[in-house]
Amino acid sequence: MLKSDPAKSLLTWLQSQLAASDDICLQNLESKGKKAQFFYIKSICDQTFIQDYLLIPFFEIDSFHDYMSYLDNLFQTSSYINPEKTLNQFLHGSVVFISGTKIRLIDTRKVANTGISEAKIESTVQGPQNSFSEDIATNLNMIRDRYYQPSLRIENQEIGHQAPTPIAILYDEKLVDPLVLEGLRQRLAEIQKETSIILSNGQLHRHLSRRKKTMFPTLLLTERPDRVAYNLAQGKIAIVMQGNAFVLLLPSVFYDFMASMDDLYHTYWTSRFVVILRYLGLFITITLPSLYVVSTAYNPELFRYQLALTIAGSRISVPYPAFIEVFLMLLMMEFLTEASLRLPKMIGSTATTVGGLILGQAATEAALVSNIMVILIAAVAISNFVIPINAMGFAMRGVKYLLLFISTVFGMIGFIVGLVGIVAYLVHLDSFGQPYLRLFMKSSTDQEEIKRVKEEKG
C-alpha cells in the first residue's frame, strides 16, 4: 500500500491506525531551509531527550545533511522497515522522524518503574538484597552484571499477537540443553498464535506448561538476580518480560522450589540443617491434619497410650467427629491467611488478632475444638511458611486437603496410599522434559546427557 513513496503516506496511515488520543503529538519544524516532522506519543517518550537531542540540534545545525548524519549516529536510531513495524515501535515509545523521503525511528522510551527495590518475597539474610525492577533493560543489566560469561546469549522476542509484550530469553550457550531450548521455542510459537495478550510471567508460566490444569508449579518465578545467575550457570533458561519484576526459570524441578539462595551463602552444616528443617516442615504441614483424623477416628492404638489418652481427653467435650473439627479449623486458618494477604496493612493486624487470639481461645473454651487441635493448626500454618518459594507453599496448602479427604474416608491405609500417591504424582510430572522429582539429582540439567545430544547433532 505504501510502496511508491513510504514517506508521504506513512504519516496518514499511522494516523488512520491510531485512536485520536490527546497524548499523540505531531511537530512540524522548519529552520534554515530544513523541514521535518516529529511524530510521537508524549506519555511514553522521554520529553527531555527529545528536547535536548532532537529539537535543539535541529535548530543549531545548519545543513540538513549534517543533521541527518548526527541523527543516524545516535544509537537509539533505527531505519524504516515497514509500516506495521513502525507502528509497533511507535507504540513502544519511538519518535517517527519524517523529512522529505527520509524516515527514521528514534527510541526515546521513558520507563517510569526502573527503580530497584529490596527483595520482598524471597528475602535472604546474608545474600544480595535487591530484586528485579519492572523494566526489561534494567533487568538484563542486572543479570549481565552478575553473570560475566562470553557464552551468555540474549534473544529478544515479542509475545502475544494483539498487544505484543517484549520478552528476552537468556541462556548460556555452552551449558544449555538444546532439547529444552527447542521445546521452549515451539511452545512460544504456539502461544504466539493462541494468545492475544500476555501481561505477566505468571501468565506465561500457565501457558507454557503443557497440562492446563495442574497444582504444582513446574517453572520457577523468581525476583532475585543472584538466583537467575546461579541457574544460568546450571544451564537453565531464563525469560525476562517487560513490565515484570519476576523472571521465569526453566526447566525447574521440585528441589528448586525447596531451595533458598541463603543455602549457598551460609556455612555448609548450617544450610544443611535449614534444608532438613524445611523438608520436615513440608512433611508436617501436609500430614499433621490427616494424622490427627487417623489417630483419633481410626487407629488410636498407633500412639503410646499416654499420648492417645491425652488426645482423647482433650477431645472429650467436642461434639462432632474429628474430621469436621479439623476441617473447620483448617478453613478458619486459610481464611486468616487469605485475609491477611489481601488486606491493607493497617487492617491486617486487626484481622490476625481477632482471628488468631480470640477465635482460637474462644473456640477451645466453648469446647467446639480441642486444645490439641489449636496447637496442631498453628503448627500446620507455621510450617507451611517454611517452604521458601511461595508457589510451592500455595500448592502444598491445597495438597493437605486432598490427603485429609483420603485419610478421612479410608483411614490409616488411605493416609499411606495418599502420601505415596502424592510422591508418585510428583515423580510423574515433567518440566520441559526434565523429570520433576527424583533422588540423586546433581543439577537439574544433566551435563553428560546434553553433551551426548550435542555430539549426535554434530
Binding site: 491405609i413 500417591g421 510422591v423
Partner: protein, 365 residues
Amino acid sequence: MNRFYYYLIFLNMTVNVVAFVPNVLLQQRFSGALSAMMLALLVGTINMWIFGVCMNRFPGESLPEIMNRYMKPWIRTLFLLFLGVNWFIAGMITILIFVDVSKQYINPEMPEWIFLFIFLVFVVLCAKMPSIKVLYLLELLLIINLPLVVIIFLKVYTHPYFSWDAVKEVGTHAFSIPAWDSFTVALYTFAGYLNMIIFASVAKVQFKASRAWMIGGVALVNLFTTFFVPIGLIGSEAVGLARYPWVMTADTIRFDLSPIERGIGLFLLLYVSISLTSALIHWHVGLELMKGAINLKKYKPKVQRVLPWVVTLTFCGVTFAVEKLLFQSQIRSLSLIWYTIRLFGEFLLIFLLCYFAWRRGHERV
C-alpha cells in the same frame, strides 16, 4: 543406572517378608525348609548371574525387542502373554495379601473391597507411568523407607527375649531333604532381577557379574532373617501357627521412648508402601510385556490409549473376583501352585535368553 538392578532385587526380597514366603517356610521348618533355602540361595544366585550376563549382550533392549529378532511371531506373542499374565498374578498376590493384612491388623471394621479399591486405584494409575519414572519412584520410596527397615532390623536382633536356642533347635534340621514348596517360595524372593527384562531398556549401565556375590550375601541375610527371627521371637513351635509370622514378630517390638510405641504400627506403615511399590512394578512390567506381545505401537493412537486401560481394568476385575470368591486359604494354596509355574517359567526364560545370547554371539563372528 546400575543401582536400579539392586533396588529391584532388594524390593522383591523385602516385600516377601510379609507375603506367603515366611508362612510356607515356617510350616516346613522341621521338614526341609532350611536345606531348600540353601538350595534356593545357590540356584537363585546362579540364575541371576546367567541372566545378567545374557542381558549384557543386548544393551538397552527389553525382552520383547530381543525376541522380535530371534523368534517366530506367534510363539513370541504367546510367550510374552504368558509372562505378562504371570507378572500380573505376582502383583495380584501381593495386593491380596495386603488387603488381608490391612483388614486383620489395621482396620478390622472396614470391608475388604475398600482396601482393594484404594490399592488398585493407586497401582493402576502408577503402573501406566513411563518405565523410567517407575524406577525413580521405586528409588525414592526405597530410600525413604530404608531407615525404617534398619530400625526394625536392629530392634529384632537386639530384642531381649530373642531365643537363640529356638534357632539352634530348628538349625538341627538343616540336613533333611529339601521341601519343594519351600524351594519355590525361597527362589521367588530372588525374582526381582527378572523385572529387568523390561527395565533394561531404560536402565542402561550393564550388570557387573563380579557383583553377584553381593546380591547373594544380601539374599542370605534376608532369608536368614525371614526364617529365623520369627522362630527366635515367637518360639519354634508356636511360629507354625501364625498366618503372618512377621506381623506377629513385629508386634513383639516395643519402642520405649517413641510416640509410636508398638513396632507393628511402624512395620505396617513401612510395608503398605513397600508392597504397593512392588505391586505397581509387577503390574507395570506385566503391562509392558502385554504391550510388547501385541506390538502396540502398530495400532492407531486411540487404540494405544485405550488398550492399557482395558488390560489393567480386566485384571482389577479378576482381583476383585478372586477376593470375593475365594477364601484366604484357597488363595494360599493357589499361590503355591503359581509359585511352581513361575519357577518353570523362570527357567524357561533363562534358557531362552541363553539361546538368544548364543545367537547374538554367533552374529558378531
